[in-house]
């Protein structure tokens, strides 16, 4: 039986596209209110793991539990309800291009809450102001820069005050100031709302700024080769690949 102190439990997970194995033997837990980093080099399967965690990819083997609910085995209606507790910020923002920013954020509120139009408008305005986009309600995604689209995507992900927020490369493509602001926002969401946050990233600044716990995925061995607080990993990990990644070094660092 899975202990309930963990918000997410991943057990013996194996992910593949057809015959091509992406990752295997993944075992880790995410505590309530924790900011959990999934890191690793490009192409190691970070985003694929995220897709499996949010139900967009069926694992070949293994299980994912949210509290005590097995994500694969629960009834479809229960699964839908569970997924409504998620907020996801996709790599590209994934805003619905035929809708304005206001409509993008308002859609989940309109679908899954009893709020009236005025209340929804107020919530939309608040969410957009949280990501620095107040006043952009009537803009279409195509009228915004990539960074602004990403921030708007975050506003939509936060629309229903999710228990778990998933971020796929949140600061990728953002300028340092915007990236820092987004990191602060992630920390603030956890502090003020107790949101559990799972971040897929390879941005070192974000990893060290927000990460409580992390796993490191390796594309050669196709599994996780390190787990722990990123700063602790930097200071104590004996793994040369982890050290190389976290120190952004050219040459392989000798094991300590």
């Amino acid at each position: 039986m899975v202990a309930s102190e963990f918000h997410i439990t991943v057990s013996d997970l194996k992910l593949a596209y057809g015959e091509f194995v992406i990752q295997r033997d993944l075992n880790f837990e995410v505590k309530h209110g924790e900011i959990f980093i999934i890191m690793g080099g490009s192409g190691c399967g970070k985003s694929t793991l995220l897709r499996a965690m949010i139900g967009l990819l069926k694992p070949v083997q293994g299980e994912i539990f949210y509290d005590n609910l097995n994500f694969e085995l629960i009834e479809p209606t229960e699964r839908d309800q569970l997924m409504r507790r998620f907020g996801v910020l996709y790599q590209s923002g994934a805003l619905w291009s035929s809708m304005t920013l206001g409509e993008n954020v308002a859609l989940p509120l309109g679908e899954f809450t009893d709020l009236n139009a005025n209340q929804i408008r107020e919530v939309v305005s608040l969410k957009l102001s949280l990501v620095g986009l107040k006043g952009f309600e009537d803009f279409y995604p195509s009228e915004l820069s990539g960074g602004m689209q990403k921030r708007a995507g975050l506003a939509r992900a936060m629309a229903l005050d999710p228990e778990i927020l998933f971020f796929d490369e949140p600061t990728g493509g953002l300028d340092p100031v915007s990236a820092h602001r987004l990191d602060d926002l992630i920390l603030e969401l956890r502090e003020s709302l107790g949101t559990t946050v799972v971040v897929v990233t390879h941005e070192l600044a974000t990893i060290f700024a927000v990460g409580d716990n992390s796993i490191f995925l390796d594309s050669d061995t196709k599994t996780m080769i390190a787990e722990g607080n990123p700063k602790t990993l930097l200071a104590e990990s004996n793994n040369a690949k982890v050290q190389k990644f976290l120190t952004r070094s050219e040459s392989t660092v000798e094991a300590k």
Partner: protein, 381 residues
């Protein structure tokens, strides 16, 4: 004129008795200088030379680019196969650094594609499996679309009315100009073809029957369906395909909103509602085209023509066209949406899905038109 060919570089092989081959490279080793093949150089190493190590001397090397790197890298690959050590110390520091960078990440053996050397039977088998898989996906999609449709009638479907109205506008009003042009021309063509033949028997007036029945029972519906497949079906596939590429459909799924209800349903309803109207409009324009030819070429007055048409076409003929138009609307909508939802994750996949949507819709429309022709003939409708 200066020759930049083989004279601009030089290569000399010095075999030593200690098992070392010293390669002296000089001159300009650039890509456009027709550099030597590493295989030819390697083939000059004979077993009796007992070469175990290759070293380089580049003191006289004037300049270089990727050409030299490619030569060394390729030679290195052959040396590795033969167990010969390559000593790069004699090469310029820049060449050494770039070669080190190129070999930093080893080649992924899993990532390499195996060449297609399957036998005929294997290929037939794989094609069959692919066909069955595609058929299963199509049937699943149709089944899901049907269930979504039932949900719509019970009021449980989740979609935006504004999307439905916008799609109705796109499928209906905005399609009128192209439907007008094509239908008028089809009516004209039918009338011309009929006029030439019927004039020989003095039966010109029956052009009205030919055009009227042809448009109302067959051509009106068929041409509208083909136009909508090329215009709207392709647009549906491209819209949904782009949403797939931009992860917008993933975003709907993770919110627990069914893309089938939110995206496919409004498009299906819009086409089902608009196709019969467009079909009637097409019938009218086709008949008008026939009237123009009869009036201008056959000296038949417009009153005569329309009276003749009225007598030739029954309500059942209109019903035949209308029933087919609803079904063709569903076919065009489902083909467009299916291909859009099946779209891969690249921009070229969007183009492929749009093309595939048009082809699928037109083929299915013609197949179903043939089936309807047989059915209506059997039931004498």
């Amino acid at each position: 004129m200066m020759d930049l060919g083989s004279h601009s570089w030089d290569l000399e092989l010095n075999f030593s008795t200690t098992g070392t081959l010293l390669i002296q490279i000089s001159g300009s080793w650039k890509l456009q200088n027709h550099l030597p093949s590493s295989i030819k150089v390697f083939n000059q190493i004979k077993p009796e030379n007992f070469i175990q190590r290759i070293a380089f001397d580049s003191k006289k090397l004037a300049n270089w680019d990727t050409g030299l790197l490619t030569f060394i890298s390729s030679l290195n690959g052959q040396c590795l196969n033969q167990g010969i050590v390559m000593d790069l110390q004699g090469l310029p520091a820049g060449v050494r650094r770039l070669l080190k960078l190129a070999s930093a990440v080893p080649e992924s053996k899993e990532a390499s594609k195996t060449p297609q050397t399957a036998s005929f039977f294997t290929r037939v088998g794989l094609a069959l499996i692919q066909f069955l898989r595609a058929s299963k996906e199509t049937l699943e999609f149709i089944g899901e679309a049907f269930l979504t449709f039932l949900k719509f009638f019970t009021g449980k479907a989740r979609y935006r009315m504004s999307d439905l109205i916008l799609t109705i506008q796109e499928c209906g009003a905005q399609a009128l100009p192209i439907v007008s042009l094509i239908s008028l021309l089809v009516g004209l063509i039918l009338a011309f073809v009929g006029a030439v033949q019927l004039k020989q028997f003095g039966a010109q007036i029956y052009v009205a029957n030919l055009v009227g029945l042809g448009m109302v029972r067959e051509m009106g519906t068929m041409m509208t369906a083909v136009i909508m497949a090329g215009r709207t079906g392709a647009a549906f596939a491209a819209q949904l395909g782009t949403m797939q590429v931009n992860q917008e459909i993933d975003a709907l799924k993770t919110l627990g909103i069914s893309p089938m209800e939110f995206l496919v349903l409004p498009r299906m309803i819009a086409l089902m509602l608009m196709m019969p109207l467009l079909c009637l409009y097409s019938d009218l324009l086709g008949i008008l085209g026939g009237a123009l030819v009869s009036w201008g070429m056959l000296d038949i007055s417009l009153i005569q023509y329309f009276n003749q048409t009225q007598g030739a076409i029954g309500i059942n003929d209109f019903l035949v066209g209308l029933i087919k138009s609803v079904i063709f609307g569903v076919i065009v909508a489902i083909s467009g949406c299916l291909r859009g939802m099946q779209c891969g994750n690249s921009s070229s996949a969007v183009g492929n899905s749009a093309t595939s949507a048009v082809v699928t819709a037109i083929v299915l429309v013609i197949v179903w038109d043939a089936i309807f022709a047989i059915i209506f003939n059997i039931v004498d409708f």
